[in-house]
């Protein structure tokens, strides 16, 4: 099947699922898609620009808190909350990117971690605004637009998430295929050569970091009404580490791979933890085997490259 046809069929199938799947399975799929979007956003930084970030959860979290506060305090339609969350993440990411991109490699990664922990601490301690360590619960799913249909049913919310994820995927794909995207990949391949050709990598790194943060913020903004809460854990470094795993598992630099990686990562833990309380060993073994035997991640497997 040609790639474009396969893509259209998959997209069509995703949209048709609410009429096929049971309520519970639809919920799970919505969850997976949200994390898939989150992982895909990180791939822009890791896979296409070659920068490893340890602090990406901060932007997911900012999106979640932004969206939660708008929905809870102002009762706006969900898309307004999505915009608020994504913008908050993007705006905060800008100065972080500016300062962090002064460093490279592991030092860059640790700077992103430092800023993420700083934001985490703010969310944790600013109890009046964020609920502190307890977080904000009872975030409602409101409507599609002012006076529009309610998004409170699993089917409606699933469709919203699917549409957001598909549009984001298209946008990112267009981005990486553009001249800007090619410049990013050149930076990843050999940053020194890029510089020696007279071009400054920093503006590119800065812009892609902000774009990635914005998409992560969108994922977080979808998370808050879906799960009904936002708490500091969604900004914690453990989640940053987990989304990194999702990207690696799925296949770095493939956009769709990380979406699959997120799904597999979560499903493995869900299924294993329902069967045994020692599920951590099982998932650990799976990770180790995947790294050793699947150099291209899941996408490498799917594409037939071993």
């Amino acid at each position: 099947m040609k790639p474009r046809a396969l893509a259209l069929v998959t997209a069509g199938a995703l949209v048709a699922l609410p009429w096929v799947l049971a309520r519970y399975q639809l919920s799970i799929l919505t969850d997976l898609l949200i994390y898939g979007l989150f992982a895909m956003s990180l791939d822009l930084i890791i896979g296409y620009t070659g920068m490893v970030s340890f602090g990406h959860a901060a932007y997911f979290g900012l999106g979640a808190y932004g969206s939660a506060l708008v929905l809870l305090n102002f009762e706006q339609p969900v898309p307004v909350a999505l915009l608020a969350g994504a913008l908050l993440a993007g705006v905060v990411a800008a100065p972080v990117a500016y300062l962090s991109t002064r460093a490279t490699g592991i030092y860059f990664a640790m700077l992103t971690l430092a800023f993420a922990q700083l934001l985490y601490t703010v969310a944790y301690k600013w109890r009046d605004l964020t609920g502190g360590s307890d977080g904000i619960a009872g975030v409602p799913k409101t409507t599609l637009f002012w006076g529009g249909p309610s998004l409170a049913t699993p089917q409606a919310f699933y469709l919203l998430v699917t549409v957001c994820v598909l549009l984001s995927l298209l946008a990112c794909r267009a981005l990486v295929r553009s001249p800007f995207g090619r410049a990013l990949q050149a930076i990843r391949e050999n940053e020194r050569r890029f510089t020696s050709l007279g071009r400054d990598p920093r503006p590119f790194k800065l812009v892609v970091f902000v774009i990635a943060a914005t998409f992560a913020g969108l994922a977080g903004a979808l998370f808050a009404p879906f799960r009904g809460f936002a708490s500091p854990e969604v900004m914690f470094w453990v989640l940053s580490g987990q989304v990194l795993m999702m990207v690696v598992m799925g296949g770095i630099g493939t956009l769709i791979g990380p979406v699959l990686g997120a799904m597999v990562f979560i499903l493995i833990q869900e299924i294993a933890s329902s069967y045994t309380e020692h599920w951590m060993i099982f998932t650990g073994v799976v990770f180790v085997l995947m790294v050793i035997f699947l150099p291209g991640g899941l996408m490498g497997l799917v594409r037939g490259r071993a």
Binding site: Y107, A114, Q117, L244, M245, V248, I252, F287
Partner: protein
């Protein structure tokens, strides 16, 4: 005044512990170019194996000597069976692998030892306190200061003044060239990884009388270790020492004078340093 001296000793004791944990992490990065996320778990293994050694023999000193090599062997075996195959890959893969190893090891400890924290008492010679300028200071913490210093000097001497150290440094600098010159690079890597794990294990045994051995102690120390290593500069032992002192001091004085900021102090220090010197104090400029 006595307060200042007490704070200073607290900072040094903490620095000593941090150094034990982070030195290995730094060397592993310098020689193997691997970011070992599982490093904290070896610290935890040291504490638990130390507990077993004390439970079986009754002697803390024995545990201090026996537990680290056992942890080192575990580390070396893991390196030889898994890590060895992915040196050429993207660092992100190494992270995923070491993360998987960390999950396996952590859960294994839980199966073996259960959920309750395991308490170790300091040996009699180190129990109690010394009278210090009007207050009582725990002998055990003084021991940690001395231990950290002794191990630091020893590791530095091995790396700088012995032939083995020379080979290790050669592999760190240029593994292909070292290979051409006859060094058994594969064996060096395994030994270095094992030694680094043993150091972390030593840190765990040393910490146990102060914190007890508990699940999650690895997670709680790994971030501190990363911060120390990055401040000091990856691959530099002297850097790890400097980083440990800086972090130890920041945490001790920070907790005392800026308690509201205690959660972020080490990140603020690291962040400030990296913004001005993006490769750490003693690291190599990229």
């Amino acid at each position: 005044m006595s307060n200042l001296v007490e704070q200073l000793l607290n900072a040094l004791a903490l620095a000593g512990l941090l150094f034990l944990v982070s030195a290995g992490l730094s060397v592993v990065f310098g020689v193997l170019r691997v970011v070992n996320f599982a490093h904290g778990v070896f610290y935890m293994l040291g504490a638990y194996f130390g507990f077993t050694a004390v439970a079986l023999s009754g002697y803390f000193w024995l545990a201090l000597v026996v537990a680290p090599p056992v942890v080192g062997v575990v580390g070396a075996l893991l390196e030889a069976s898994t890590l060895r195959f992915i040196y050429r890959r993207d660092p992100s893969y190494q992270l995923l692998l070491t993360f998987g190893l960390a999950l396996i090891l952590e859960e294994s400890v839980r199966i073996l030892y259960g959920n309750t924290a395991k308490s170790i008492d300091a040996p009699l010679a180190l129990q109690g306190g010394v009278a210090l300028l009007g207050t009582v200071y725990p002998r055990y913490r003084l021991f940690l200061v001395v231990l950290g210093l002794a191990v630091g000097v020893a590791v530095w001497l091995v790396l700088q003044r012995t032939r083995a150290g020379l080979v290790i440094r050669a592999v760190a600098q240029n593994s292909e060239m070292a290979d051409c010159l006859g060094a058994d690079v594969t064996r060096v890597r395994t030994l270095v990884f094992g030694a680094a794990c043993a150091l972390a294990g030593l840190g765990g045994v040393a910490a146990a009388p102060m914190t007890s051995a508990y699940l999650g102690m690895g997670i709680s120390v790994i971030v501190d270790a990363f911060v120390v290593v990055v401040i000091g500069g990856l691959g530099s032992i002297v850097g790890s020492m400097a980083g440990s002192l800086i972090v130890g001091a920041a945490q001790t004085w920070g907790a005392f004078y800026l308690p509201e900021a205690a959660m972020v102090i080490i990140y603020a220090v690291m962040g400030a340093l990296l913004i001005f010197r993006p490769w750490g104090l003693f690291g190599e400029e990229e």
